[in-house]
Amino acid sequence: MTRKHRFNSAKLQDNLFKFFALLCTGIGLLVLAVLLIDIMSKGLERINWSFFTNLPSRHFNESGIYTALVGMISLLFFTLLIALPIGIMSGIYLQEYGTKNWFARFVEINIANLAGVPSVIYGILGLQIFVRAAGLGNSILAGGLTLALLIMPIIIVATREAIKAVPNSLREASFGMGATKWQTTKRIVLPAAWGGILTGVILSISRAIGETAPLIVVGALVYVPFIPEGPLDKYTTLPIQIFNWTSRPQQGFVINAAAGIIVLLAFTFLLNGIAILLRNRWYNKIRF
């Protein structure tokens, strides 16, 4: 009798836990769905070709995100130009070459911490160093450098994780053949780690395109009625444009903001989707 009783109570606990887990998942999904439906119902009507090709305007129905898109792409270009080589090289050095002493551990912990620093702090750093001290002003270059600082820790950590996942038996095989450290890194470790590194890079891009706070600080929050032509020009980006529109009193600009959010979300979902796809393919390839 007691055995049956115990069994039932365990089964009850099991079901209760399952119910709560389901409930929590449901809450998360529900919030996301409400957000999406709200944004879609407001903004979808404004999504058309001219929304992508129009410059910002005082009239909401003539306003578009052209400058914001061009600004975002140019900003990303400079961000990646700086962050990719430095981030990936640092990751390779720390994981593959650096000796494992107390200094390496110190650097490791600090890079992990850097990845968690609030982004507005990077904005303040960028303002002080790039905008003021280096005299770059409110330029794309200053913004790109700031965002590069922001995503570099993410790229370094992703690179290290990807390299760490390459089985040591492959390095042994390569060294056993008489390959040097560089040959082993170039021909065996990096090709095997590439999928993981790329996944991290894409996720860092998706982080960068959504960033608003640091860019407000380094001066992207300006009315830019023209397309930037060089790295020292002023610029605006999509999140900033959305932020700008939401602060307008007219209802029409709120609709514009909703439409802008849809575009931004589409970018983020697309990038994250690619990253997940790449990661799955890479994991299947690397598993032994």
Partner: protein
């Protein structure tokens, strides 16, 4: 004249004294088996000959090891060049995540060989020698990871012999394989003996008995006995050897 030789070789992992003064000589074109319980130092000793222990931090080596009378740990030895002359096959098949062809071509690629016809020939010869050619000749551009475990291990042997080393070190090459694949590897070892000096670490005493000319028994970092395989297995000179081969410990 010994192909491989060591003289009072000591190895320390930090404080741990893992090899305690090993001296032995291995003749060219012979198969030598290292046997002994786990942790006895046989794999560590094997790896002294291609300096793979260099990759492990805090390893200290004293004494001498020779290949063709040249000190492997001498000052003017280029460790990368040295390893090119010594092929190694590991316990777990470890093909690169590349094509079958590129796996075998790897050794030639890293010495900067560019001639396609030369590499093609070397790949075919190596795959034939490792008895894999007939199974893979139509799928050379497939990933090596699509092969079975036994095929992967023969591919690793092909990769090692494609650059024509003079020595082949095998660290328990069949311990992760089924009996049929094991038999193929053993057959291969017998075939390769005419061209290479082969040293094989094994946990399987029947295997040592089948493939080797001489056998060395290691225990707790010491070389207990080294003799003709037939004599060591039928009439061992030391009691510890007798106990080990009769399965009383280890």
């Amino acid at each position: 004249m010994y192909k491989l030789e060591s003289n009072n070789l000591h190895l320390y992992y930090g404080q741990k004294h893992a090899l305690k003064g090993i001296s032995l000589g291995i003749k060219a074109n012979s198969v030598t088996a290292f046997i002994g319980p786990s942790g006895c130092g046989k794999s560590t000793y094997l790896r002294c000959f291609n300096r793979m222990n260099d990759l492990i931090p805090n390893v200290r080596i004293e004494g001498e090891a020779f290949i063709d009378k040249i000190n492997i740990y001498g000052r003017n030895i280029d460790v990368y060049e040295h390893r090119k002359d010594i092929g190694m096959v590991f316990q777990k098949p470890n093909p690169f995540p590349k094509t079958i062809y590129e796996n075998v071509a790897y050794g030639l690629r890293i010495i900067g060989e560019n001639s396609k016809s030369l590499i093609d020939d070397a790949v075919e010869v190596a795959l034939r020698q490792s008895a894999l050619w007939d199974e893979v000749k139509d799928s050379l551009n497939k990933s090596a990871l699509t092969l079975s475990g036994g095929q992967q291990q023969r591919l690793c042997i092909a990769r090692a012999i494609a650059v024509k080393p003079s020595v082949l070190l095998m660290d328990e090459p069949a311990s992760a394989l089924d009996p049929i694949s094991t038999a193929k590897i053993e057959e291969l070892i017998y075939q390769l003996k005419s061209e290479y000096t082969i040293v094989i670490v094994t946990h399987n005493m029947q295997q040592a008995g089948r493939v080797s000319d001489k056998t060395a028994f290691f225990y707790l970092g010491e070389l207990i006995e080294y003799d003709e395989t037939r004599k060591l297995f039928t009439n061992p000179g030391k009691e510890a050897t007798q106990n080990y081969i009769s399965g009383r410990f280890g």
